[in-house]
Amino acid sequence: MTPHAPLLRRPGTQLTLRYAAAIALTLFFIFPVYWLFIISFKTPDEIFAFPPVWYPESIQFANYRVLFKDGDAETVWNSLILAGVSTVIAMVLGTICAYSLVRFKTGGENLAVWIISQRMMPPIAIAFPIFLLYVFFGWVDSFHGLIILYTAFSLPYVIWMMRGYIEDLPLELEESALVDGCTRWEVLWKVVFPMVRSGLFATAVFTFVFAWNDFLFALVLTRTEVITYTVQVTHYFGGQSNFWAKIAAMSVLGTIPVFFTVATLQRYLVRGISMGAVKG
């Protein structure tokens, strides 16, 4: 008779247990997202049914239609402009700065430490003096005011990430281009940028997502004109729960682009969120 391993040690049992744990965990982490999405498709009756409706009878888009009709959906557009423009500027300025830090050791370690430490500052402590400054300039509730702030706040991350990607580049390519007749600037555009383009793209996406997800700066520095979708969501918070549908629909509008962009970037995800600590 062949000896049997104890039940719990058998490979089949182990795999079953691991699947059970994996499914339970995934349910816990996914269910709230499911709930958010499903509410946005529910009718008011379904939302305020007791006991709750676990899945709607039919998908209907009335909640979204209301957002577009009232003009609330414009806040998503505002978020897009703010995050998009600031990301582009931060990528250009941050990448050339990172290049200088890596290739010429500009400012040495002190400058690098100072730059990354700016990433760790509490937004509220920065937002308050900036708010006072913007009041003085009349920049509160303006696109350029927020774009400048988002750009500045994104820069440490961009510089930090691009520093890592540029360090991975072979120096010889740039030297070869110099000998072949490029100026320093041409080396940047013709060699460095194309060489780091995947890192550039991944970093840009994360920078965009961070700005897109911001709430505090937008809360402090906007009034009516350039409200972002995150601020708009909180406008529906109230005593009564009547705005559930709007909260859910607006949140979904703000979440879908993030899911899409991150899904395309699985390979860079870990490097992106660990600020380069793990190279994927």
Partner: protein, 319 residues
Amino acid sequence: MTATSGGRVTGMSESATSTMIGAGGVATPIGHAPDRFFKYWLIVPAIFLLLLVGLFPLIYSLVVSFQNITMMEVDTSFSGFIHYAQLFKDARLWQALLHTLLITVIALPLELVLGLLMAQLFLERMPGRQIFVSLLVLPTVISPIVAGATWRLMFDNRYGPINQILGWFAGEPMTILWTVNPYLVYPSIFICEVWQWTPFMFLILLAALSNIDKSLTEAAEIDGAGYWRTFFRIVLPSIWPVMAIAILIRGLDLVRIFDVIWALTAGGPGTMTETISIYTYVQGFQQFETSYTAAIAFLVIALLTIIVTWAIRRMGLAK
């Protein structure tokens, strides 16, 4: 010296070992290395913008904190240290600090341990692993304010699914006021925080664990080391550099926590869940205690700059 084939003179220069320009009596042309300012041009725009968020708030907060600006009056004359003296007497501030620390020291280890356990679970290959991992990532990438809003819906006393599920187990309808009940408001915040950020820890630790050289753990196994011994002697030290950075990033995120609490409780009930960020906001934008808020902002920036710089240097992050 050996004569060369074409009669060309070559040879050793024994005259100069000095590094001075023109050493050995040879005239050096006057000139400069080409493009020597190039590296500064590259950093100027970025540094200028960074000073806006890095230096300006610090200096301007300091200036304003020595003035006396409130909603009622604008007095820009030097008013000494009254706002800093006020800081020490402000019980609400100290409580906010305490709340912030409480959230940090509880949520951070929770996320870390849970993330590590999940990483262990998914470390070995299993069919469909990539799908699980992709789904688990979702909470981390959505906006914290949306995460808070989502859990606001989840926690609703009457129409939220949490109470409904608890009701199934209890056998009677439950109407727990999660975000209002003083005993449950912190657990609600922790659930939301852990839900959003455990996947962050999980992803990073999974990558770190996968990068461990297998021969190390196999050698330990052959040497007869048990599971825990292997874990503490080999696995943990191997992932520590990465884990330390994850802890630093998350720790600092928690210290400045704002969005989730704003969405879930807005600091309530009363001021029970007011963190330092929420309190600063309330002082600056609801009570309009401008100079006092500036004093708080200055202290927070100054303190965090010191701590963060120390931590970054300590971990050798800049190398």
